[in-house]
Symmetry: C2
Subunit: 180 residues, 2 copies
């Protein structure tokens, strides 16, 4: 039986933080660079700003025009799909306004995906696949299969997971495994 | 560690077929009773009617005002939540127009639910819980834990799963298990 891989969306497939940073700068008169913002989570912002920022993210179209994080992702997923059962698992319940935009984004970038394999969830403890590629240490710890950490500045200090820096490394990891 | 239970929405929590039947009669000049309609799946309808019916179901508000299937469901879930990790797992990807209405329905009827435990999916092979309560033989077969069949006329001939007829039976099944 083919092994299965669940793939997170934000900061693995889609460049969430780039738009988040631009939205923040635009609304709060700041001038963070993307690199700075990647280390400034919402939790570190003043409470009122965090609340307003959430409202902006929860707008129905916020997630619609996120850029691809890594241009290689599409071709790698297409290739992996020939050997693995590919699922997309995104914690959309945190941002319920995002459902339609996230769905449309997936239809646009991964039209070859089996829509039965899309999962909008919260806690990824509920995901039953062999692997999960995610940038969130909390989600990777909750997950019961093998977690693969997509490297981001905010998870640089977290040990215990295989790390990948880009989609070519994901390709290498999973295609290499087939040979073994 | 607490055992976990995933609960399907349509025809387990929400009375989907009642509204489907009313919508059908209203749009196609028929006069099916609910009982007749429960044995007339969309697949048996003429192709054009099935397509139009899907469009009606996929309207953003179709799922918003579904009635509770069994008035006991809420209290039973509240009680089970004290002993089990409760997830809601609904195959929303089949009807992407339903996301917001389904979410709002859950917030209305199960406000005590942990929103991190809501899952909009397709194939329930991806659900990692100990139990799944579902009316769909296909989903129960795909699921890798213990499937509990919520009895409906269209699954009456399906063997291989524990069957429950209503929410008091669900209560009995799971609360009884705690004593063992």
């Amino acid at each position: 039986m083919r092994k299965s891989i669940a793939i997170d969306m934000d900061q693995v497939l889609a460049n969430f933080y780039k738009k988040l940073c631009a939205t923040y700068n635009e609304n709060f008169g700041t001038s963070f660079t993307n690199e700075e913002f990647l280390l400034t989570t919402q939790r570190d912002l003043p409470k009122e700003d965090g609340k307003k920022l959430f409202e902006l993210i929860n707008e129905p179209d916020f997630f619609r025009d996120l850029e691809l994080l890594d241009l290689d992702a599409i071709e790698v997923i297409k290739e992996l799909q020939e050997h693995y059962e590919i699922y997309i698992a995104t914690a959309a319940m945190d941002v319920p306004g995002s459902f339609n935009a996230k769905y449309d984004w997936l239809m646009q970038y991964l039209p070859f995906l089996n829509i039965q394999n899309i999962v909008f969830c919260g806690n990824k403890a509920v995901i039953h696949t062999d692997y999960l590629i995610d940038d969130s240490p909390g989600q990777l710890r909750a997950f019961k299969g093998t977690g693969i950490m997509y490297a981001m500045p905010y998870n640089a200090d977290v040990d215990g997971f295989e790390r990948v820096n880009n989609w070519l490394e994901i390709r290498e990891y999973f295609m290499g495994m087939l040979v073994k």
